[in-house]
């Protein structure tokens, strides 16, 4: 394995993995309760794609840069780790949404940021990460059409449009937090694991948000906690939901 690897790069990849995992989990929670059957299937399927990306990234982390031969149980240890200090997720993917409009807006904001993020690692010196980027982009192209299609249909309608704009005001500051540098990003940039710091693309993403939602002003980005080492209040309940089945019988072998 000639790919670079150190603690900083580990933090960098882990943050992407945790975001993908929790985003996938949150989307999947709409199964059975999305506004209509077809949407229910589509949204959960998108969540499933995100979980797939997370599994690939956790395997890179667990294998110190080499995902080959990492088994499911090792992935589960990372993905369902009960220790909150091990997590590096952004608060955007941790919070519970009050309804469908928020879930949809988060889906768009996250996927637009994710597109930039995958682009930055498309030529990564960490080969498995570059490969994951190619695979992810094939699926993300569809995810974006899904989110854009719904927003095209809903934004011009009175009630739905208002709900979506309210959700944008609520979620935008958290979404900006996605770009907060993770500890280790400097090392990831120095070793060519990523092409540039994520927040260098924040202005471009912000412009896209403005155009997409047709708004002149956006709320203040707020200050996301540095380094992604603190968890939001929503994290505990989310982790409990994720671990619910595991904890039914701690001794069971999966």
């Amino acid at each position: 394995m000639t790919s670079p690897w150190n603690d900083g790069i580990r933090e960098f990849v882990l943050a992407i993995a945790d975001d993908e995992h929790l985003m996938g989990q949150q989307h999947a929670e709409w199964i059975g309760v999305a506004p209509f059957l077809e949407e229910d299937l589509a949204f959960c399927s998108i969540g499933q794609d995100e979980l797939g990306h997370a599994a690939t990234l956790y395997a890179i982390v667990a294998g110190d840069g080499d995902p080959d031969g990492i088994d499911d149980r090792t992935l589960d240890k990372l993905a369902f780790d009960p220790d909150p200090t091990r997590w590096r997720s952004a608060h955007l993917v941790e919070v519970a949404t009050p309804g469908w409009a928020h879930a949809l807006v988060r889906h768009w904001l996250y996927d637009a940021a994710e597109q930039v993020r995958w682009e930055l690692v498309a030529d990564s010196t960490l080969t498995p990460l570059a490969e994951a980027s190619v695979r992810a982009e094939r699926e993300e192209w569809f995810h974006r059409r899904h989110a854009d299609g719904l927003l095209d249909a809903l934004l011009p309608t009175a009630d739905a449009g208002d709900r979506i704009r309210t959700a944008l005001v609520d979620l935008f500051p958290l979404a900006v937090g996605l770009f907060t540098p993770v500890e280790g990003e400097a090392e990831a940039v120095a070793t060519g694991v990523t092409a540039a710091p994520f927040d260098t693309r924040l202005p471009e993403w912000t412009d896209r948000v403005r155009q997409r939602f047709v708004v002149d002003s956006l709320p203040d980005g707020g200050k996301a906690p540095a380094g992604r080492t603190t968890r939001s209040d929503a994290f505990g309940p989310l982790l409990s939901r994720m671990r619910e089945v595991l904890e039914l019988d701690a001794a069971a072998i999966w």
Partner: protein, 95 residues
């Protein structure tokens, strides 16, 4: 919401087959949702969506009256019967 009829086709000589229907607000979302509703496991290589409002539908009273024309049911039974008879005759002539 509009209702779309979904047709799928595998590459090769198979024809398009009706897979089911779905509800979507417009053509773009119908495409996106058809992919998840009917193509999750690569059930087809090509996809047609038809807005149900664009279907030409035959009313039942227009379709039904041909049910009483047995002469149009070419099941081959009468020709088979004639051939059997001629074959039997031929065999008799030969003996």
């Amino acid at each position: 919401m509009r209702r779309y009829e979904v047709f799928l086709k595998k590459d090769g000589k198979d024809e398009y087959r009706h897979a089911g229907s779905l509800d979507a607000p417009d053509d773009e979302l119908a495409l996106v949702l058809a992919r998840e509703t009917y193509l999750r496991r690569a059930e087809g290589d090509r996809l047609w969506l038809v807005d149900r409002n664009h279907l030409v539908i035959g009313p039942p009273e227009f379709v039904a009256p041909n049910a009483d024309k047995p002469h149009r049911h070419n099941d081959g039974e009468r020709i088979a019967e004639r051939r059997r008879r001629l074959r039997d005759l031929g065999e008799k002539d030969a003996s």
